[in-house]
Symmetry: C2
Subunit: 191 residues, 2 copies
DNA sequence: TTCGCTATACCGACCGGACGGTTGACAAAC
DNA sequence: GTTTGTCAACCGTCCGGTCGGTATAGCGAA
């Protein structure tokens, strides 16, 4: 029998609550009081664990960065060890279903924007995660620029989705993927 | 002799001031009082022209959307009437110098985020501009998905720049451009 | 066992300041 | 004399952060 997971500790509950608020009601709705109430603690209780709003946001961002890194690692591990493995992981990460629809990513985006709104420097943990991915991307044996172009397209798609800029049907999405996959062919660069 | 342009009217001055504030000191610094002071009017004076903060933001967004549309139109007109003209305009828009470094785009990004922060629906004018560009992109005689992939990559690059996620040198940028230009070849899709 | 002492975790009233918006007045233009 | 544009004072609200206090648990000494 599976005993259900133990109830999370207070800091975790608070971070969860803060994420939920940002996702559901926007950046402006994230106040210390609201987060405390949603987490089932008092404002004083929240401030005991996170000494300021900035500390709360930093906590959210650190957890988010860890989550992104772990998620990408999982996608990468699932890729066959072909050449351009990292690049293919980016493609899978961008286009494979769970990632594109997952409500968790809406939440991530909301947290990201909330942090940027408060202080752009809070994004540093995320920056490090993506810098690391980019470094590995550069080591894929592809013509220079191809992997980066694929990553940029993935980012653009993601951002367009966050901001509600894109409305593409599945067919267009699939066509985009095929186009980018051509760039992921190791021999694609030599005319 | 060129007589200098006449001093802008109050609404224009106010919009300019609001943009300057958002760009220089972030979204949080954009208060009615600050915008009024920066524009050289009183708070009451500002509220005479923009009845609420939301109205002010809507004014900023509308102007921004018009600016973006005009800018893209200019880039498009400068393209030779080759096939895939719109797609090539996107490439030029993304990679050609003035666009990439222009301080005006930092300002645009700041306004964009400020509006999204207050109410995502304010982005509708911008959405319409990009939807129109996307429609034209679809009419470029390219294999399906290629033009969209190029646009997504441009957006990703732009967003990465806004959020400080990318640090690419000129060489990598040029390589990316070459990679994307391969996708803009009309015959590129048929193996 | 029990008495003090301390550390941990949490509470909620309160303060100071900032912000969006209102109001009433006023002066120039028409 | 009405309209247009502008002003300064003011109000109510909300929010981040402080602070004094409480409950619980652990622990060494008497």
């Amino acid at each position: 029998m599976l005993d259900r997971p133990p109830p999370p500790d207070a800091p975790t509950r608070i971070l969860d609550a803060a994420e939920r608020i940002v996702q559901a009601r926007g950046v402006t709705a994230l106040t210390l009081e609201a987060a405390a109430r949603e987490a089932g603690v008092s404002k004083g209780g929240l401030l005991y664990h996170f000494a300021s709003k900035e500390a709360l946001l930093a906590g959210m961002l650190n957890r988010l960065a860890d989550g992104i890194a772990a998620e990408f690692e999982a996608v990468l591990d699932a890729q066959p060890p072909h050449p351009a493995r990292t690049t293919r992981a980016i493609l899978a990460w961008t286009f494979d279903d769970p990632h594109m629809v997952c409500e968790q990513h809406q939440r991530a985006a909301a947290v990201f924007l909330a942090a940027f709104h408060h202080d752009p420097a809070l994004l540093d943990p995320i920056r490090r995660v993506f810098a690391r991915i980019r470094d590995r991307l550069r080591q894929d044996a592809l013509p220079p620029g191809h992997a980066l172009a694929i990553m940029a397209a993935g980012d653009g798609l993601f951002m367009g989705r966050i901001f509600g800029m894109y409305t593409m049907d599945a067919e267009e999405l699939a066509a985009m993927r095929r186009a980018l996959e051509r760039l992921a062919q190791p021999e694609a660069g030599s005319p």
